[in-house]
């Protein structure tokens, strides 16, 4: 009814509207021309600049990695040539071939790093996932204080924690042990992981959980059936963050271990390659390539989840 009325009342005005429509129609050929011409000119020019910039930045971003790969395939002597050769003149996989023989303890270091990295990641996830979820969903007495404390903790210099951890682990006879390294590596992943998890949970709508509650699930049931699958990308991101931190960590690894059997990859590199094997750059670079590979592969495969997890709080806020 009301629509009809509107049409009827609009009818007399139709003739008034028409000239405007015609004017628009007449103007049409001019406007698109103007608009198409300028952007296209700017478009080409912009494209050239963009590709030049991209080219420059990519050289900067990739050159050191190229040098790492290139050196790892050089024979020992060629790595010392001046001027250096850009491509290996006599490429060889010798440096990769000797890694499994464990001459420099590489296999031991790799195994240690892997065990410690995986355990640290699991421990961090075990604590940070429920912790972050609770801080995101529940308002309880002390929640705000706890959030502030976690934020502040994240700023604690690790070295402050390390000094006492060292004396503590020495008293407990835990120096040179996996538990000491796993616990200490967790210290610097945990606060940021809780914060990341909270940020991620904040971006997940509560509708599904509410619906689950209505359907008669307990809170615990909601957690298991609905929440865990929803925050999957957040868990991936936090896990990656914890693992990369553990894989990189040098300060604790140097301090809390003294026997070569317990060294992680970074500690092993610092103590082995620069000491005994100082002049074996290709060996060192080959080992570096192998050490970097797990993270690069992981990063490439999970890039999407990682970015969404890492930026969930920051971007959408």
């Amino acid at each position: 009814m009301s629509e009809n009325q509107a049409n009827q009342s609009g009818q007399p005005g139709d003739s008034l509207v028409r000239p405007g429509v015609e004017r628009e129609k007449r103007a049409e050929p001019d406007v698109p021309q103007e608009f198409e011409f300028t952007p296209r000119k700017a478009f080409r020019w912009k494209r050239v600049v963009v590709y030049l910039l991209l080219f420059g930045l990519l050289i900067y971003a990739f050159f050191p990695t190229f040098w790492l790969l290139s050196t790892s395939f050089k024979p020992q002597l060629e790595a010392f040539q001046n001027p250096p050769t850009w491509w290996p003149r006599n490429p060889t996989t010798y440096s990769y071939g000797i890694l499994p023989q464990d001459q420099q303890g590489f296999v031991t270091y790799f195994k240690n790093s892997l065990i410690i990295g995986v355990c640290t990641t699991l421990l961090t996830l075990l604590a940070a996932t429920p912790g972050g979820y609770v801080l995101s969903r529940f308002r309880f007495r002390g929640a705000r204080a706890l959030i502030l404390v976690i934020l502040a903790t994240q700023m604690f210099p690790y070295v402050t924690i390390l000094i006492s951890l060292y004396t503590l682990f020495r008293q407990l006879n835990l120096l040179n042990s996996y538990p000491a390294l796993i616990l200490s590596f967790t210290t610097f992943s945990l606060p940021f992981s809780i914060w990341m998890m909270k940020g991620f949970c904040d971006t997940v709508p509560t509708d599904m959980e509410d619906a689950g509650r209505v359907d008669g699930l307990s809170r615990l049931g909601v957690l298991r059936v609905i929440v865990i699958p929803l925050i999957g990308p957040g868990i991936t991101a936090v896990g990656f963050f914890a693992f990369i931190n553990a894989w990189n960590e040098l300060l604790y690894a140097l301090t809390l271990t003294s026997s070569p059997d317990m060294r992680t990859v970074p500690a092993g590199f610092v103590l082995t390659y620069i000491g005994e094997f100082q002049d074996r750059w290709p060996d060192m670079m080959a080992a570096s390539v192998i050490v970097s590979l797990p993270i690069v592969v992981f990063f490439t495969v999970f890039q999407r989840q990682l970015v969404s997890g890492l930026t969930a709080g920051a971007v959408k806020g």
């Binding site: 963009v50 604590a127 924690i161 006492s164 300060l251 806020g317």
Partner: protein, 322 residues
């Protein structure tokens, strides 16, 4: 719009019918069970050690003769803050220089990279993958890679620099001794390596942010006659304000506590030229074994960082309120 609002209202009313706090496992008990692992770890391996370190700073523990340990009150603080022998202030300044410079430059390069990668390009995923790999290369590898590239006798960087010849003008006729001399070049080298490692972090975060910049707004600005710079300055940067603040603050704090890159490249040398606070404390406490002096320095450093953290928290809170 209105439909969405009523829906939200509907759920809000459901929430009051099924209150957040039930009994036992549906209520407070569940909260504390879920929080327990975090709290246990936070207390056990962060707060307890930090308090212990503060206590150590009032003692005179030296690892080479632990039995001679006694309480000395504020003696350590007086000596560390005033006596030049302890090298506290130079380490503070180098930490700030290292962190500020590397963060600022990494931010600029990272932002440029993000802007370029945000364009529609062929093989976009390949470029992204290539551009972001430095971030996931382990610190120690980064350090040794640059140490090798900066080598004064056979490093590629010296080879490129001495090869520069612009119409007979050669800015670097002699190879540079990067890790010797007064240490200025070593400072440059460590910062250079850190920038290379850190810029992808900014690219990654800003790239994600750039994809939230509303395209209609950019188009509207174009119609209104805004140029590339105008759109960047008035639309892109304000949209990314939060993410810019958070990433730079985080990176500044992480860089203030950098250890691996510096230690693996220079051991804090030549002399004490690249001693940042963490390297300095490590040297004092674990190489010279003066643990209480190291504890004192790290307590002061902790207080300094906490002051900085105050601003950080205000930024983060500002974000979560939006």
């Amino acid at each position: 719009m209105s439909e969405l609002n009523t829906q939200r209202g509907g759920f809000a009313s459901l929430r009051t019918r099924f209150p957040k706090y039930g009994q036992g496992l549906d209520g407070p008990l569940l909260i504390w069970i879920l929080l327990f692992p975090s709290l246990l770890l936070l207390c056990g391996i962060i707060f307890y050690p930090v308090i212990n370190t503060v206590l150590l700073s009032f003692q005179s523990l030296n690892l080479s003769e632990p039995s001679a340990n006694k309480w000395v009150g504020l003696d350590n603080y007086g000596r560390v803050l005033t006596n030049e022998v302890y090298g506290f202030w130079p380490a503070v300044w180098f930490s700030i220089l290292f962190s500020a410079t590397s963060t600022l430059i990494a931010f600029v390069i990272g932002f440029a990279m993000a802007l370029v990668l945000n364009q529609k390009l062929r093989f976009q995923l390949v470029w992204r993958g290539l551009a972001l790999t430095p971030w996931v290369i382990p610190y120690v590898v980064v350090a040794y890679l640059f140490f090798y590239m900066f080598n004064s006798q056979y490093g590629i960087i010296n080879s490129i620099l001495t090869g520069i010849n612009i119409f007979g003008w050669r800015p670097f006729p002699e190879p540079l001794g990067w890790f010797g001399g007064n240490g200025n070049l070593a400072v440059f080298a460590t910062i250079f390596a850190a920038i290379w490692n850190k810029f992808p972090f900014f690219s990654l975060m800003l790239l994600a942010g750039l994809q939230t910049v509303p395209q209609e707004l950019l188009d509207a600005a174009t119609v209104d006659g805004a140029g590339v710079w105008g759109r960047f300055r008035h639309i892109t940067v304000p949209t990314l304000r939060n993410i810019i603040m958070i990433t730079t603050t985080l990176q500044i704090i992480w860089s203030l506590n950098e250890f691996a890159i510096i230690w693996a490249m220079t051991n804090g040398g030549p002399g004490t030229a690249t001693n940042n606070m963490v390297v300095h404390i490590y040297r004092t406490g674990f190489i010279e074994q003066r643990l209480s002096t190291a504890a004192t320095m790290s307590t002061i450093w902790l207080l300094m960082l906490l002051a900085f953290t105050y601003f950080y928290i205000r930024i983060m809170e500002g974000k979560s309120e939006v």
